[in-house]
Symmetry: C2
Subunit: 158 residues, 2 copies
DNA sequence: TATTGTTATACTCTATAACTATA
DNA sequence: TATAGTTATAGAGTATAACAATA
């Protein structure tokens, strides 16, 4: 029986473990990609641009959970580093269509390798089958909670 | 086969899902306990004081991942609300021994109920057995990653 | 001389809201 | 008149470091 004060659910329940492990995993990931001079939101944008190129800044800002005004200097830096580019939209000249550059695509490839190493480290305690089961359960929970696959605005800093 | 750009691990791996679900669960929990006028770090301190009363501010600040200077106004507010109290330590008069008041213990009881409702909501997609399996796996992962049970400094804001 | 708690300051981060150009 | 992007400003939140009391 769990006698830790605060109640078993509070400290040992799935919700708490998810929050604890999630913040741990996010911090570790941030440390890893710092070696590529990227922050988690920056990595997120690169992935989003690879998945669906040509979207407007406003849409992307919404997905990243940041106000449009904050997105501007955020995109400025990546553009200055030659990783993304703003293309003029001929149909609506107010909006910019954002795209990954070749250099950006190259960095994204490195990012994927880092991501796989990260996955291995986080799940080191699990067997191959257990890992598969865990992913399947987490996916169901995420879906039931209405979370969009592949994007989360929980990123912090950057 | 998973063809989403960014790679299957990046967006669908366990590490990503943990981060996504963890931040989701943490945000939802923060919303819930806002009804008790508590932030996640405040709730964390109440639980810590119930688990091990009489510790010094420095120790508690370390566990919460905040500098001692920030802990001062943080504890001030809870003391002002009559939820915790600073007792003089007769052995070392530099340090304060922090304790939960009766009122603080009462609020902690409410907090537990909120925590259980939170747990049910987050795991609504899982059967009883699946829930048990998930918790067991997450505990193993957390232990292998060297995380301290019951405490995590990933809290934000408050 | 080192450590606990505290205070003060300076800085980063962020959102709000004003502004422009297109529609 | 409404919207995309941008800029400016003001506010919150935070850490760093100086300080006082005690060891």
């Amino acid at each position: 029986m769990d006698r830790r004060p605060g109640g078993p659910q509070a400290q040992g329940g799935a919700a708490f473990l998810l929050a604890q492990l999630g913040s741990h995993a996010a911090r570790l990931f941030a440390d890893r990609i710092a070696g590529l001079d990227l922050t988690p939101p920056q990595a997120g944008l690169l992935r989003m641009l690879a998945a669906s190129p040509g979207r407007s800044q406003r849409e992307l800002a919404d997905d990243l959970g940041m106000p449009p005004s904050r997105f501007v200097p955020f995109a400025d830096e990546l553009e200055g580093r030659g990783l993304i580019e703003r293309r003029k939209n001929p149909n609506d000249r107010r909006s910019h269509a954002l795209h990954l550059t070749e250099k950006g695509a190259g960095l994204l490839a490195e990012l994927r390798e880092v991501g796989m190493a990260h996955e291995r480290d986080i799940c080191a305690a699990l067997s191959f089958d257990e890992h598969r089961e865990l992913v399947a359960m987490l996916r169901r929970v995420a879906e039931q909670q209405g979370l969009t696959p592949g994007v989360h605005p929980g990123y912090r800093s950057g």
